[in-house]
């Protein structure tokens, strides 16, 4: 039993070794932290043999903002707002995860109106997140038009949500005990209009990208992730479902009002980049179905529970709550010592665990395939680093 603590420098020196044969030369390439395809400040140290990737070592910490430490000095109401800045493309779902944990711990009952509105907003944001991912995937593979299409439709949905929420990206809409504000009187009407607008657009997406032969060539049979590897490497969300494991918290452990909605969980077959692509595009359709079903039946009630103190105190103990964001399971772990501030706050972020599937996916493949495979993981770097 030995414990050896190494450093990145040692690792690279060790791995570069003394292989000096004339026909092959292995070398290291740094990808990131400033690279247009890593979607932020992810750094990958790639060990290459020609164009083949032999090793892919992710180096993190270029946006580690110490959210868990800051949360230990904040009350629960304030903790919620830091989570928007983690996975900013699923900000409402992040808010909801913390709110859910605090509500379960403090025994706050929220009415079905609040739950329904939260579910609708979570699904709308899932659509929004996938729209952006779809555009950026196209851009990563060298096509600029999908980006314009994706952003165009994202703005339409953004307007609908902004009317109620008041913010464009970090929405801060859900808080423990309810919502920041009631839905705008125009909301139901405008969401219906949006769905009517977006359904044909999704078919247009299929014409433009899904059925495009170049995209198919670059995604099919690239970055294959077997279901066993996906489970062992901690993948959740569309990455896991792309590999053929039909696991979705919305279905298997329903929260909110997902049990009232009728929807399907799209599942891939062989787990290549194409399956993950298809799962996300299909999820947008399913999310629209969920929203449509819930929209006409928003129950009456308040948008905030009464008798709420901003300094919520939680009984001593440990609380774990999780929900399905656009990228996988977000877990919130709270250790309380009866104060209004958490003793320990931990976030199980979906991206952190999905990232490690990258190496088994692209080992031995071309460096160009890495871009497509990484794009199909849909990483948000601040969520990895927290």
């Amino acid at each position: 039993m030995t414990v050896e603590v190494s450093s990145l420098k040692e690792l690279v020196e060790q791995a570069s070794g003394d292989d000096r044969s004339p026909d092959t030369q292995e070398y290291f390439v740094n990808m990131g932290p400033q690279h247009p395809s890593t979607h932020g400040v992810l750094r990958l140290v790639l060990k290459l043999d020609g164009e083949r990737v032999l090793r892919c070592i992710p180096v993190l910490g270029y946006i580690h903002r110490s959210i868990e430490k800051i949360s230990e000095h904040m009350n629960y109401m304030n903790c919620v707002h830091l989570t928007d800045r983690m996975d900013y493309l699923s900000s409402i779902m992040n808010n909801w995860a913390v709110s859910k944990a605090v509500e379960e711990a403090a025994g706050i009952e929220v009415n079905s109106r609040i739950q329904t509105i939260r579910t609708i907003f979570a699904e709308l944001e899932r659509i929004q997140s996938h729209q952006l991912w779809w555009g950026v995937l196209g851009m990563d593979l060298g096509a600029f038009t999908p980006f314009l299409y994706g952003i165009r439709d994202r703005e339409v949905l953004n307007d609908v949500m902004e009317e109620t929420v008041g913010a464009r990206l970090t929405m801060n809409y859900v808080l423990p005990g309810g919502l920041m504000a009631d839905i705008h009187p125009n909301f139901v009407h405008r969401v219906k209009e949006f769905i009517k607008y977006f359904r044909p657009k999704l078919d247009e997406y299929d014409d433009l990208l899904t059925n495009n032969v170049i995209i198919q060539e670059r995604l099919r049979n690239v970055g294959i992730l077997s279901p066993q590897t996906a489970v062992q490497y901690g993948a959740t969300g569309p990455v896991l479902r792309g590999s053929g494991v039909a696991f979705d918290l919305r279905k298997d452990h329903p929260y909110g009002v997902y049990d009232q909605a009728d929807f399907e969980v799209p599942v891939g077959t062989i787990g290549d980049s194409w399956d993950r692509y298809w799962v996300r595009v299909e999820e947008m359709r399913q999310s629209m179905n969920i929203v449509e079903q819930l929209l006409d039946n928003i129950p009456p009630g308040d948008f905030l529970v009464k008798k709420l103190n901003s300094k919520i105190k939680i009984p001593e103990g440990r609380y774990y709550s999780q929900l399905e964001t656009a990228r996988g399971i977000l877990g919130v772990f709270i250790v309380s010592d009866k104060k209004d501030e958490p003793y320990r706050m931990h976030y199980r972020s979906p991206n952190f665990n999905n990232l490690w599937c990258l190496e088994p996916m692209i080992k031995g493949d071309y460096i160009a395939s890495l871009i497509g495979a990484m794009s199909s993981l849909d990483l948000v770097i601040p969520d990895i680093d927290r």
Partner: protein, 155 residues
């Protein structure tokens, strides 16, 4: 399996496993550090448990008791149940065997805990800092971490 039944079934696995009732929502057990990999492997392989995925690994610094608590959250896709496995290690010499051989994702989850808490994992293939620079001094999520850089919130 129901929460209580699962907890009891896991405790019958070995004499080193005992129940823990701090969690409100899920079955939880305490395992002795030395027996951890064997227990988790049995939890993964035995069909009545089938805990296939290590969802999360968290450390808690119980500074008053002089202990670190290491929590492993397991999930079974087959039976759709959760289990939390806790290991208590002394704060002065925090050492625990690695779970990399059982659940490969533990490699990075353990690196995160090493980075922020300084828990050493025996037999870990690549134990180094994850978020912070290699030359960082101290382990910032420990409760007694001091730093010239950090600012306290004005009260």
């Amino acid at each position: 399996m129901e929460r209580e039944a699962l907890q009891a079934a896991v405790c019958e696995l070995d004499s080193t496993v005992s129940p823990l009732d701090a969690n409100a929502d899920r079955a939880a057990v305490i395992v002795e550090a030395s027996a951890l990999p064997a227990i988790v492997r049995r939890l993964r392989d035995q069909p009545q448990f089938a805990f296939a995925q290590l969802l999360d690994h968290v450390a808690v610094d119980w500074i008053d008791r002089g202990q670190f608590e290491l929590i492993y959250q397991l999930y079974s896709f087959k039976h759709k149940h959760f289990l939390s496995v806790s290991v208590f290690v002394p704060r002065e010499d925090p050492r625990v065997p690695t779970l990399c051989r059982v659940h490969p994702v533990a490699e990075w989850q353990e690196r995160e805990v090493y980075d922020l808490f300084g828990v050493l994992y025996d037999d870990h293939p690549d134990l180094r800092r994850l978020f912070l620079e290699d030359d960082w001094v101290g382990f910032p999520l420990r409760k007694d971490y001091q730093d010239d850089f950090m600012l306290d919130r004005p009260r």
